[in-house]
């Protein structure tokens, strides 16, 4: 599914975003950075890894490092037993999966509807957010995929 979307990459000012629910918050990620959406299965935990690393799994012959976005955002672990989803991304030639609660729809955003992240936002959130989008009825936090991964790798190096 993702391939078609990637080819449909937006041009000009409009950018397409894929929405995701984590906890009670709606998030958006640029669709051209998302390679695929999958259900994480057969996850192997990695001892000694940081708590926000859920483990490694095999996605069509590639080893994907899964990051639990709830932990990353400082939210409590899922309790409802619902099947989590994952968004596959590539970063510096490596495959990562961001584990989220639910994948929503694909939407095209006007740059004018995006605002900078509020100054008083939780630093854990602000550090990986690119801005906030005013949608009808709710707000959507735009995630910066590079920041999520760069931050994780940097903190590891520190």
């Amino acid at each position: 599914m993702s391939d078609a979307m990637i080819q449909d990459e937006s041009t000009g000012d409009n950018r397409e975003y894929i929405t995701a629910m984590i906890g009670k918050q709606l998030f958006g990620m640029p669709i051209d950075e998302v390679h695929d959406v999958f259900i994480p299965q057969n996850m192997t935990p990695v001892p000694h890894a940081r708590s926000d690393i859920a483990g490694v799994l095999n996605l069509r012959g590639r080893i994907v490092t899964a990051i639990d976005m709830r932990r990353k955002l400082g939210l409590p672990d899922r309790e409802d037993g619902a099947v989590p989803m994952a968004v596959g991304i590539e970063f510096k030639g490596e495959s990562y999966g961001l584990i989220i609660d639910q994948v929503g729809e694909v939407m095209r955003l006007q740059p004018s509807s995006v605002e900078a992240t509020p100054a008083n936002l939780d630093p854990a959130w602000a550090g990986i957010a690119n801005g906030v989008c005013r949608l009808e009825g709710q707000l959507m936090v735009l995630l910066d995929v590079e920041k999520i991964l760069a931050m994780s790798t940097e903190t590891m190096a520190a």
Partner: protein, 914 residues
Amino acid sequence: MDDLLSEFLTETSESLDVVDVELVKFEQEPNNAQILDNVFRLVHTIKGTCGFLGLPRLEALAHAGESLMGKFRDGAPVTQEAVSLILKSIDRIKEILAELGNTGAEPEGSDEDLISELDRMSEEGARAIAGDVPAEAASESAPAAESEAEPAGEEAAGEGELVYQVLERPLKPGEVSLDELERAFMEAEGPDLTAPPPAEAAAPVEVKKAEAKAEPKAKAAKGEAPVQQASLRVNVETLEHLITMVSELVLTRNQLLEIVRRHEDSEFKVPLQRLSNVTAELQEGVMKTRMQPIGNAWQKLPRIVRDLAQELHKDIELEMIGAETELDRQVLELIKDPLTHMVRNSADHGLESTDDRVAKGKSAKGLIRLSAYHEGGHIIISIADDGRGLNAAKIRQKVVEKGLATEAELEKMSESQIQRFIFNAGFSTAQTVTSVSGRGVGMDVVRTNIELIGGNIDLKSVQGEGTTFTIKIPLTLAIVSALIVECAGQRLAIPQLAVVELVRAQSNSEHRIERIKDTPVLRLRNKLLPLMSMREILGMDAGPDVETMMESEDEESGFIVVMQVGGNIFGVVVDGVFHTEEIVVKPMSTMLRNISTFSGNTILGDGSVIMILDPNGVANMFSADVVEAVTKDAADTEDRGNARELTSLLLFTAGSEEPKAVPLSLVTRLEEIPAENIERSNGRLLVQYRGSLMPLVFVNDQVQLRETGTQPMLVFSDMGRSMGLVIDRIVDIVEDELKIEVQSALPGILGSAVIKGHATEIIDVGHFLPMAFDDWLTRREMSKESLHKSIMLVDDSPFFRNMLSPVLKSAGYAVKTYNNGREALEALEAGEEYDLIVSDIEMPEMNGFELAERIRANKAYSSVPVIALSSHNAPAAIERGRQAGFLDFVAKFDRQGLLASISEIREQKTGAAA
């Protein structure tokens, strides 16, 4: 850069590497015409191609070098100076080539310096030949030479440059076209002005020799020709990609096989079997394309050794065995630098100077032997020298200096364990830093590099005879054979390279897990193997959980994977062992790469991802404990001044399960003597120990002498004699305050103290020494003047009071002991007289410094000398002590030192009085 140029660069840099090697060989065997021919041909090809590509700088340089080599061929004497010059020219050519590779053009600059030197030597060579040749030609190859000389000479008449082409052509049938091209090029451009006149003069002579050899050479060349056509240059990236794809194919095949295994009668079975075989063959074939002879990594070494030999003024022979042994080019690249470094090390530090060698009766020429061979999927490389070997004493000193281990720890180590310290970070045994091995890069870097590719390194050294380093590395990094184990429901891969054996421990079998304190160990063929639970390694259940887990199951059984990393052998307890599997190592993502426990991950046949254990990381976990202990020790030492006084105590059991302790510093060695070595003679138990008989003494009657296996004992040595104290088991070495709280009436026991939370009996070594040798404490020479002299011994520790007073008494002094400075001062104030005062520093109520100051302050006894007993010899403390009035500082356990100090002070006193 155009294809022609890049092709030229690849080819030339390869040729130059060969020239390097060949020239060094040639220098050693100047009469080997074949080597010279090889060199000559290579340089000539370079020169020719340069001309063709329009690279005048390179061409001129190569030409000048070639001329000089031409002189060698004609019989000019081969001097070291000349070879050095050619090597220097080749280095310059390499520089220019590097620049050419970067920018696509020859760099600006002049090589006139080298060219004029080369020309000068060619001239000298020509003169030398002019003297020699007539005779030589007449005696050796006169008929052949004369007949050929005429026509060739005619052709050469115009200019020197062309002569070479004409003469070379018959030598190299495979490369005729290039020569033709070059000739055409030369003719078009007109006479080459760089051709030096001496070459012209020498031309006819060259003709003779060259022609004479033409026939056999041509034959050899013909033999080579088909080989050249059969090989093909392939871009490394293309190969890498192929290998990745094959790896994926292997994984997919494994997955398919797994699926088919579940369905008993699948129609896929037969075709899949075929696919499986084809895949295996394909994998093997592709892996082969990556294989290169290890000689490629050695190519630069002869040149390096030659240069080193000259620089260091040593005579060094480099022997290379097994250069054809093949290994993965990735591995090859990675070991190149460590190997070079080690060979340099051997030449620089390993081998003695020529004079030293001769003085020691060795051959003047030092030998460095490099060898490589395959062994069970691995390649073993060894670098041996016949030099001075490692100096264990120096290493010990340095280890202690750097705080890598304490003296006590070193005591327990074998020679080879101590030698392995050179692999520790920041360790370099050479006292002077030479330009050769440099500073900062030590064997630790070599070790790290080798461990990075999943290999390990070990060494064996005999002082005075030489050192051998052995490196064991996997043939390839992409696919490794691994043992799949299970722990806490998770599967893990352990690289087979590190696995020595598997042991199944069961409580009722000979292999069972035993414990020293909380540390699990396994007895394996008369050796104690430290164990660690895989859970602990994975950090799953830390601390007390491990205990409960181990106890809830069967704490004496389990599967133990015995692993060896370098010289460390240890066991890892796992829940289950599955099978060995060829796994494709995939690197972990950057986010996980900091975890030292794992070296990568892989996908198993059933599609699940598992982690690959890094044996080096695990080995470090074992030694990390030691490191922690050492740092803790250092920290303890620092704050000892104002805190509790800690003593290293050896805990053991003897006769009963209650722990017993003795200060470690009193113990000379811990030994395990085979039971059959214990002999009985004249009603006493004796063992032969380090060349003499050592009497054995029992701590108490309950201790049973073992009849099989080994008997643990503590060895105490003093004045060249040793005694073995037979015990049941060594429990641990701990640091704690030695505070005897309950005095004991039992002989041999000073009393009880709380050591690490347990009531522990402190044994009185002084009680046992006379049991071994009746005269142990009395046989010291008693000097007359020491008799009837009185000593005041002030120490708050009953242990030291009890230990030192018999020592002093046996030396003839009258001793009275006091608990602290205040008591001692009260006694002095009460009018008691002593000839000498020995005092501890750290004491309650009044410490040693204060006591000494107070003594100095009172005229009634200010002349009595005071000696300080101290467990720390920090310069500041000593200085403080001197100011306070202490005459000398003696370490608490240094009994002999104390006696020596006392008699020295007494002598001074009598001398001053007289």
